[in-house]
């Protein structure tokens, strides 16, 4: 995304110029292909829903029919209607309000997970790739160890060891996602470090730490961004899976996976209790998957799907 920032006289609102350039780049990307347009629309919609539900929560100005926790036992298990677009649950809470509130929860969890996973994974990948030798060997064996477990099983075991809940779920998911970043970055660094600009930096007397974090990091972080974008969907899938098993969000938190688990006793009659939260998960996952794919094509088609994993 090397958008050309037009040279402007010094001190003349450079921040606005930068933002305009960024907005232009986003617009250029969003209209670059049909897939990118679909992806951007879905993701923008989900982000708006998340921000709206958070604002409603933060300001505590729930509209009367729009409180995800407000019970109304008289109108329990109502199918979708004009008043309750997604119906109501077993104690009369509005499903639309709950699904919307869930968007905020899912987005925060996946942001936290990916922040931890990408920072840890990138750091380990950079160090292993650049230092090489015994350090590389040790770090990569540790990485392999985390990949020796089926992801969901390891995440469930870690979350269970911590006793379940949102924070343990976040730690557990970060633990299963970081190895992919470490591998991705390491393989990139292995090819980058043979190039001349790294040799030049070394010749100028840059310390290894400076080479890793100042010379190499800017070269690999687009990869991290692309991978993290694709992973948002997978983290939300995994987090809702853990909640579905009773390890993640605890009632009455309207997490999507927990909502679906809650609905099991009312299946198949109260279909709306499962269909809408699951549809929300699928929508978000499709959106971020497509966004990650198009971002990869847009930023650097040469990277290819093979290098960045599936």
């Amino acid at each position: 995304m090397s958008a050309v920032v037009h040279p402007s006289p010094a001190g003349r609102r450079p921040a606005i110029a930068r933002m305009a350039a960024f907005a232009g780049a986003v617009r250029g990307f969003a209209t670059s292909s049909g897939q990118a347009t679909i992806a951007c629309s879905i993701v923008a919609f989900v982000l708006l829903a998340g921000i709206a539900s958070f604002t409603a929560f933060a300001l505590d100005t729930h509209l009367t029919t729009f409180d995800p926790l407000k019970m109304d036992i008289l109108s329990r298990l109502q199918p979708p209607s004009a008043e309750h677009w997604m119906g109501t649950d077993k104690i009369g809470r509005d499903m639309l309000a709950r699904v919307l509130a869930g968007s905020w929860i899912s987005l925060t969890v996946s942001l936290a997970v990916l922040l931890v996973a990408s920072v840890v994974g990138t750091a380990i990948g950079l160090i292993a790739g650049y230092v090489g030798g015994l350090v590389d060997e040790t770090l990569m064996r540790v990485t392999d160890l985390f990949l020796a477990f089926p992801a969901l099983i390891l995440a469930a075991a870690i979350a269970a060891s911590f006793g379940g809940g949102m924070v343990p779920t976040t730690i557990a998911l970060a633990a299963v996602f970081w190895p992919w970043y470490a591998r991705l970055i390491r393989s990139r660094v292995l090819s980058l470090k043979e190039q001349e600009f790294v040799a030049a930096a070394r010749a100028m007397g840059a310390s290894p730490a400076r080479i890793v974090f100042v010379t190499l990091l800017p070269m690999v972080w687009p990869l991290v961004i692309v991978q993290a974008t694709t992973d948002v969907g997978f983290v939300i899938l995994a987090a809702s899976g853990l909640s579905f098993l009773g390890l993640g969000a605890q009632p009455p938190t309207p997490e999507w996976g927990a909502l679906i688990f809650d609905s099991l006793t009312h299946q198949p009659t109260a279909w709306w209790l499962a269909v809408f939260p699951g549809g929300a998960i699928a929508l978000v996952a499709v959106g971020f998957n497509l966004l990650g794919d198009s971002l990869r094509d847009h930023l650097d088609p040469a990277l290819g799907a093979a290098e960045a994993g599936v």
């Binding site: 064996r141 392999d144 160890l145 020796a148 477990f149 089926p150 992801a151 969901l152 099983i153 390891l154 469930a156 075991a157 870690i158 269970a160 060891s161 911590f162 006793g163 969907g233 997978f234 899938l237 809702s240 899976g241 579905f244 098993l245 009773g246 390890l247 996976g257 679906i260 609905s263 099991l264 299946q267 198949p268 279909w271 499962a274 269909v275 939260p277 699951g278 549809g279 998960i281 699928a282 996952a285 499709v286 998957n289 497509l290 794919d293 290819g304 799907a305 093979a306 599936v310």
Partner: protein
């Protein structure tokens, strides 16, 4: 080649040792007190202390680790809270049902995934490709526990085409236990009606389980086929007048095989994870449902035992996948 095998074997053994250390660490070193978890929230301090004593939690960590390793080597994982039986016995009882499901789903996902991925590569950038890629993104993105419920809603509740869950219809006496595979056992017993019933019960769980892993295979096959198809020997093969089917099936697919096998090994992890949800929803009496129940009952011993056993199996399978490289591609063992 022998050198390659030995190297992989050593790496696998180190990995297995690591897996054992890690499950031990998960069980003992994390902040949660295992005795408290096993005793349950309502147990008094005396009960917790008794469990600490029985598990040897007050001993030094290295002694605990040695006990753990010797127990694991003997196949002793302690008792399950839910079934009140040794966990090792439980795992053996529930394993065949899961294996039947996972093997069939794996087979379905490979056959359909390779076929669709090849179609997408051959018709690259045309509507067939777009449709297959769209389906793959969808398959990767849908939560499988949700898809399972939708299938039940559509095929059981609405149209009544398929049974709700279980391995056989209610009240049907299962065939004599031989392999633990319902399909094979019913054939051995010579009961075709049971065989058909078992198959009908497998359609939905297998389909849901196969979808995410099929989606991944489609993507891998498509990418590696595109890469192979752009190479010179494909052009030569075409120029020799070999039929297009032969070119795709033998020349191209044969050379795109390595990534496909790699991803198949990795997919088994996905299938095992998926089985936890699928078996819970379809009431399938396998290891997945056992795991889900263990999690919801905080059956700590069982969770850790399953984690260990599954990770060991997964590691061994991926070792076999590594070995198959050497057989399939002579270049691998030369590196």
């Amino acid at each position: 080649m022998a050198q390659f095998i030995v190297r992989r074997l050593i790496a696998t053994l180190i990995l297995i040792a690591g897996v054992i250390v890690m499950t031990f660490a998960l069980a003992r070193l994390l902040p949660g007190d295992p005795a408290r978890l096993i005793a349950g929230a309502r147990a008094g301090p005396d009960a917790v202390a008794a469990i600490r004593d029985r598990l040897g939690l007050d001993e030094p960590v290295h002694r605990q680790f040695l006990t753990y390793v010797s127990n694991v080597l003997e196949g002793d994982f302690g008792q399950s809270i839910i079934t009140r039986r040794p966990i090792a016995e439980d795992i053996l009882t529930f394993f065949p049902a899961t294996l039947e499901l996972v093997l069939l789903a794996g087979l379905v996902s490979v056959v359909l995934g390779v076929a669709l991925g090849t179609v997408a590569a051959v018709y690259s950038a045309r509507s067939a490709d777009v449709a297959v890629r769209g389906a793959a993104v969808f398959g990767l993105s849908v939560p499988d526990f949700w898809l399972a419920l939708i299938f039940q809603l559509v095929f059981f509740a609405t149209f009544g085409l398929l049974p709700f869950g279980g391995r056989l219809g209610t009240g049907v006496v299962p065939p004599e236990f031989v392999t633990g595979f319902m399909t094979i056992d019913s054939l051995i017993a010579g009961r075709l009606d049971l065989f058909a019933d078992a198959l009908r019960h497998m359609i939905m769980p297998v389909a849901v389980l196969a979808i995410p892993s099929m989606a991944i295979i489609i993507r891998v096959v498509r990418v590696s086929m595109l890469e192979v198809l752009s190479q010179d020997f494909i052009r030569t093969a075409r120029a020799k007048g070999i039929s297009p089917f032969q070119v795709y099936a033998r020349h191209a697919l044969g050379n795109a095989m390595l990534p496909i096998i790699t991803v198949f090994g990795l997919n088994l992890g996905l299938l095992i994870s998926g089985a936890v949800f699928i078996e819970l929803i379809f009431d399938w009496p396998g290891l997945g449902r056992y795991t889900a129940n263990a999690i919801s009952a905080s059956d700590y011993n069982a969770i850790m035992a399953i984690t260990l056993v599954v990770a060991l199996a997964y590691t061994l399978i991926n070792f076999l996948v590594d070995l198959s490289y050497a057989v399939l591609d002579p270049r691998v063992s030369l590196k």
